[in-house]
Symmetry: C2
Subunit: 332 residues, 2 copies
DNA sequence: TTGTAGGCGTTATCAT
DNA sequence: ATGATAACGCCTACAA
């Protein structure tokens, strides 16, 4: 059932139906308008956006490329994006890349074929080469720092890393290690750089083996912690690059009979709702994930509206809770 | 740049280009084929799926309606769906309904306008009326039990509820309460029904005030637990309807100086990766969320391929960990 | 083996 | 105020 059928039934032309449906500013006699509306209802007519898009060259769809939505970090970002997109009448097409270059390429390609109006990329792992065929066709907004120059919404992860490290340094910790995420992630690298910088500022070097790569999961954090704590010179403080990793670390430390924070302090990143509820509650650097998505979507919409792109850097803040404490002062 | 431009540059007709691009079984001279391929590359031609879809009446897109992707439960489901969809060359359009009827209606409508090939609904909150205009246009698969008859993929939540309750009964618990989710969710109602049934079987009634509604979050679980434990007759065991809720409960119990499992036992639902890592680790009924999404997508693809729809019921299993123990036998 | 032409469902332009 | 007509970019009979 097409617009012609409706036109037929209402005894008008397709053009008129179109005008009624789109609340066009073109004048339509009220009589006719209601006749059309009745016909629409009677026939259960649902306009075909494909046909419309073909003509208008707008799909009202945006693509989202992230490593993995089952990671709460990206799930929250996605929620922020979808909220503003839907409010603007736009649909979100989701793609999970798992940080795999070939997946990324394929997804980017199909998103272009689908003629999304714009897209948002996260994870910091899309290359300039992947993006070249995309960038001059549709606006692209990045979440997080990307190797490619792109309008972006991000937090200053270097500063955040420094904040985490300084907190521990202030508590007297000198042996600090990182439970990082995938080392291909710019976010991970920036946080590690921040930690390293804060340590260097007080004359401490962050040894390579004190930055343990893992994935952003609790099991990953668990394994990384156990591996790390095997070393003869155990760190007295850990910085986990996500809440999930921190929760895994917490369990590993418990299994190793290391009390948190009495023997080992732990700082987490992200600060999802869980951080405040686990025991001990996690001292964490809050990253405003929902807002990250929200602002990214807003930025993209602005670009689509022809407005200038102003990259955004959102603030992070350290929330001190139970998982950090003074370096074993009493004993040593 | 359209297919005509490519045709032009390659010195052939659009039809030939189309045949090359779609690997049509229609014969094309190898020479010509490579000429076309070169032209495609030279021009950076990206086919327009909208135009294609308009003609073929297939968009290779599927819609997904869930309450909230930032809930790990749905995030995992989404991941499962997206994995099989992308493998089948299909895109997933995500919609967050927040269980709000009007949002659902709007989304269903726009998904129809976009001519998705089919859709998957989760959350058990879509009504028959909402679905009527949809169902006879595109195949719909449900995740979880729905008030509407629909091919579905689900777990037996009644049985799962029974399992959880029986575990506690076997440990000697007689005062059992539920930290439920939104009572509009069929999943929640089924689990509660299962618990009630198991209790009834041993002559215990599940009082209304022992089923506390909340949302599926840690703060929600925290608040619900505190409210519940104010009662003079405290339950000795709690059943939380998600891991998040359970983690909130764990914190509330700690704040109330109630030891888990010594004074209060706790069973969780879902069993996300976190469950095994928090302390005490959670005895939980595992719900295979990823598989739920996977199978739902497979079911939808089967329907789209014209194959018959066979609803699926996935098994759940109780994983006993640290959060449950015998009812205060020694003391009472 | 290749090309031509018609149409998928809309909207925009130009008449009326 | 309404209608006819021509695209939008592609696929697919059918013709050559």
């Amino acid at each position: 059932v097409t617009i012609r059928d409706v036109a037929c039934r209402a005894g008008v032309s397709p053009a008129t139906v179109s005008r009624v449906l789109n609340n066009s500013d073109h004048p339509v006699r009220p009589q006719v308008r209601t006749r059309v509306e009745q016909a629409v209802r009677a026939l259960g007519y649902v306009p075909n956006r494909l046909a419309r898009s073909l003509l208008t060259r707008e799909t009202a769809a945006i693509g989202l490329l992230v490593p993995d939505v089952s990671n709460p970090y990206y799930a929250m970002i996605l929620r922020g994006i979808e909220d503003v997109a839907s409010q603007a009448g736009r649909a979100v097409v989701l793609c999970n890349t798992d940080r795999q270059p070939d997946k990324q390429r394929v997804y980017l390609r199909t998103l272009l074929e689908r003629r999304v109006d714009g897209l948002i990329v996260g994870g910091g792992t899309v290359t300039a080469e992947d993006l070249r065929p995309v960038q001059d066709r549709v606006p692209v907004v990045a979440i997080g720092r990307h190797p490619v120059p792109l309008p972006s919404v991000r937090v200053d992860n270097v500063a955040a890393g420094e904040t985490a490290a300084r907190h521990l340094l202030a508590l007297g910790h000198r042996h600090i290690a990182c439970l990082a995420g995938p080392l291909t992630s710019t976010t991970v690298r920036d946080r590690a750089a921040g930690v390293a910088r804060a340590l260097r500022a007080v004359g401490i070097a962050l040894a390579c083996r004190h930055v343990v790569a893992t994935d952003f999961t609790a099991p990953g954090g668990y394994g990384a912690t156990r591996r790390l704590m095997r070393h003869e010179t155990r760190p007295t403080a850990l910085i986990a690059f996500s809440d999930q990793v921190a929760i895994g670390a917490l369990r590993a430390l418990r299994d190793l009979n290391l009390a948190v924070p009495q023997q080992v302090s732990l700082v987490a990143f992200d600060d999802t709702p869980l951080a405040a509820f686990v025991s001990p509650s996690l001292t964490a650097v809050r990253v405003p994930m929902y807002t990250l998505g929200l602002r990214a979507a807003e930025l993209l919409l602005a670009l689509l509206a022809g407005q200038p792109a102003a990259s955004v850097v959102l603030p992070t803040r350290l929330h001190v809770r139970e998982s950090t404490g003074p370096a074993t002062g009493p004993k040593e």
